[in-house]
Amino acid sequence: MSDHVPTDPPAGPHGHPAPPFAITLEVGSSLANQTGAWRTERPEYVRRLPPCSDACPAGEDVQRWLYEAESGGEGYERAWRSLVRENPFPAVMGRICYHPCESACNRCELDEAVGINSVERFLGDEAIARGWELPAPPAATGRRVLVVGAGPCGLSAAYHLALRGHHVTVRDSAQQAGGMMRYGIPAYRLPREVLDAEIQRILALGIELRCGEPVADLRHELREGGYDASLLAVGAHVSRNIEIPGGTAAHVIDAVTMLRGVASGEQPQLGRQVIVYGGGDTALDAARSARRLTGVNPVIIYRRTRERMPAHPEEVVQAEEEGIEFRWLSTIAAARDGHLRVERMRLDDDGIPQPTGEYEELDADSVILALGQSADLSPLAGLDGVRVSDGVVEVDERMMTGHAGVFAGGDMTPGERMAAVAIGHGRRAARHVDGWLRGIATSEPPRERVIGYDELNTWYYADAPKTVRPLLEDVRRQSTFEEVVHGLDEGSALYEARRCLSCGNCFSCDNCYGVCPDNAVLKPGPPGEPYAIDLDYCKGCGICVSECPCGAIEMVPEEI
């Protein structure tokens, strides 16, 4: 530190220091007066859980990788490496994730949420463009794990297990890996070359992938294959159907089958006018795909209101922009040649749709049912202890089913059905599978307290509204499967990363160092290293706490 006790003046007669010229009193420094004794509370640096990281279903520490990205340049690779510690699919999730992180972002209350998802995509695309590779696995443990299902959960688990040195075999019934990322999500949302690149990078860790080989009897496979543990992640690919009176006369197809067909390069026979029945994201994917295939605006029929639709609002807006029509509060009563009889509904006091007895007729060459999916749990037959309720497999805190050594995750287990959740399941399951293989008791780590907006001092954050990602023009969106949402350029991604408020974690803004009236905040290291409090002189005024922009310092009572 630059503060120091002045050097002794030159020695005078009799060995006493000589006073400086023209000063009769010996001068001393106030450093002799250790004002830390005045203090009743001391400031301490803390680390809090930012709401983005708290909200991420994939378990990403969002703020940690944004922090690296803020440097730009070489920081992008550090950010990507930090990101893939949890999630090996940044380019995919930067496109298809519904980003709960942004909904939770404290910056929402200041201006707009940080565009976390666009930065994630930028980093993912940079990694593909520059050929960044995942870390090499450690020495092999000799343990073998069977992962059933090459979707987001299975591949995420395979990745994390490979990084722990285990041999992983991934089996899937489809011809290519990716699960719903490939066979459910249309190419205009997720280009296949992006998906392929990220899957290949994971497989390159030495994971054995066997496509087109469904697992019919898990108990048999485990015994025959000599596996030490297994993870089931077969997803939920079976469409729920309903009977439509007269429906046999009309062309009725389920959304999962239709989307899978499109993804496999088939041309489904839809006719001209398509009706989609349902209100989830799958319904929107089906309708938007149909628009591109038929050239005619499909109609989505949903029995409740727009507000109660489970689909994500931004998807609804994009669908409307592409010309998709919506019939809220409507159900299909019957189908007849080329026509649908649709009944109007009304919400009762409990918000449940009730029939009104009013009908209208709609043209319909085909009806796509998007009424939810269920999991095919037949491979589990014959395994003792596995419990199923509401069509999904019950798992404990470690993601283990009732059968020892058999874990499960993704859409076939309870929880919200989205890719980020599945990736999170895969990561968690891998950790517990690893613990189980090593005979170590594992539990979910305790979580820090989440820091709220009120704990920030937002004065210090300059106003900076969010950068909007450019969209493909409407005309091309209505006829092609080109990607609709474009990425941010480097400058915009950097700007977006720097909008992060760093809630609850020091980001080296030097405010504490600058505002201390007693010079009692120390900078022991280079920028980015933690500060320290000089408790010999800190009077405990608390200005550093009040003026910390991100709430990363708190006052703690001294023992008296």
């Binding site: 530190m1 630059s2 503060d3 009193l25 010996e26 001068v27 001393g28 420094s29 106030s30 450093l31 002799a32 007066n33 250790q34 004002t35 005045w38 803020e70 440097s71 004065w459 210090y460 954050y461 300059a462 106003d463 900076a464 700007y495 720097r498 909008r499 992060c500 408020l501 760093s502 980001f507 080296s508 803004c509 030097d510 405010n511 160092y513 600058g514 505002v515 201390c516 009236p517 007693d518 010079n519 009692a520 900078k523 920028p527 980015g528 000089d534 010999d536 002189y537 009077k539 405990g540 005024c541 608390g542 200005i543 706490v545 009040s546 003026e547 922009p549 006052m555």
Partner: protein
């Protein structure tokens, strides 16, 4: 305020890890001078200790460490130099309460006689030593054109002697000599001096105001002042937890509110003309500022004086208009919300008189 690229906190924090050495502020520099070192006896949360360190560190950085300081009597002198200790890490002299500008003049004259142009002189004092006791010496220093930067650290009363009123004590504030009694509680309206305007009337090269809420701004002004020769004056608002009855931790927040309410206009003037003012980013009613200080406690509660608060709001509104403190729409922050607030403030003025 100096501009920095947009790094998370824009230009409002003291520093940023991503800034290069040339862009970083003096106060964020681990090698800053610390003109006042640790162990000084200023109260917890002292605004003056912070303001003086920041101002002098900037002066030292701007001159390559060649600054001599002449100090008036006051808190700053008392808390930094109890015998036998000194907190000063630059050549520093204290003579009398009212003669700091004259001492500084003498140092400048001595340097001129020696032909030394590299060493610069700073005179400094509190509001009592500057506005009341030393005003004659200061006015003379301005008039003669002496090459001195004079910095007043204004905490709005005589604090170390027990919080007596000075010419900088604002209207309605309670001090030991302006008790909250009678029909006009606290300090009187219509008295006191506005020294930045008095300095401007001398048509000296540079006058500026600042607060400890924006250290980069204060640094910028001290650095700018060093570009000029001749008399210069900087007036820094430094909240005093002891005299204002505020929490030590809120010193900077209160300074910020002084600016954001318009009660303390932050501006720069050259040759007698205002050349720049710091716009209010988040306009707030004066009540938000007053409530944090016990010296205004008599204005609130059951026997409160909304009429007095409304008068103070009028003073703030006048500053906002006079110094152009509201940025144009579309600039940083504000928007419609600010217009609504302005209307609310105008309505509050029409309240009980």
């Amino acid at each position: 305020m100096s501009s920095a690229p947009f790094y998370q906190t824009g230009t409002f924090a003291v520093g940023n890890r991503l800034l290069g050495p040339g862009e970083a502020s003096v106060q964020s520099d681990p090698g800053r001078s610390n003109a006042i070192t640790k162990g000084h006896r200023a109260c917890q949360g002292c605004g003056e200790a912070l303001g003086a360190r920041c101002a002098l560190d900037a002066a030292l950085a701007a001159t390559g460490g060649r600054v001599i300081a002449a100090n008036a009597t006051g808190c700053l002198e008392v808390f930094s130099t109890p015998f036998p200790e000194s907190s000063w890490r630059l050549p520093w002299i204290h003579s009398l309460f009212g003669n700091a500008p004259a001492v500084a003049t003498g140092i400048a004259a001595a340097l001129r006689a020696q032909g030394r142009t590299d060493v610069r002189v700073v005179g400094q004092g509190g509001d009592g030593g500057t506005l009341d006791i030393g005003l004659g010496c200061l006015s003379g220093m301005f008039e003669r054109g002496d090459d001195v930067l004079y910095i007043c650290y204004d905490n709005e009363a005589y604090m170390n002697t027990g919080v007596q009123r000075s010419a900088a004590t604002p209207p309605a504030a309670r001090t030991a000599t302006t008790e909250p009694v009678g029909g006009h509680p606290g300090n009187a309206f219509g008295q006191g001096k506005n020294l930045p305007l008095i300095a401007m009337a001398h048509e000296i090269p540079y006058v500026a105001t600042a607060t400890v809420a924006e250290l980069r701004d204060l640094e910028h002004k001290v650095t700018r002042a060093m570009d000029f020769r001749g008399p210069r004056y900087i007036h820094v608002l430094v909240p005093c937890p002891l005299g204002w009855g505020s929490e030590p931790a809120k010193t900077i927040e209160i300074a910020r509110l002084a600016k954001e309410t318009g009660l303390f206009p932050v501006f720069e003037a050259e040759e007698g003309c205002v050349v720049a003012s710091s716009p209010i980013r988040r306009l707030r009613p004066v009540e938000d500022y007053l409530r944090l200080q016990r010296r205004y406690a008599h204005l609130f509660g059951d026997d409160g004086r909304p009429d007095v608060i409304a008068r103070l709001q009028r003073l703030a509104n006048r500053n906002i208009e006079r110094f152009g403190l509201l940025a144009q729409a579309g600039e940083d922050s504000g928007g419609d919300g600010r217009r609504d607030l302005l209307e609310t403030l105008a309505a509050s003025e029409r309240g009980p008189q």
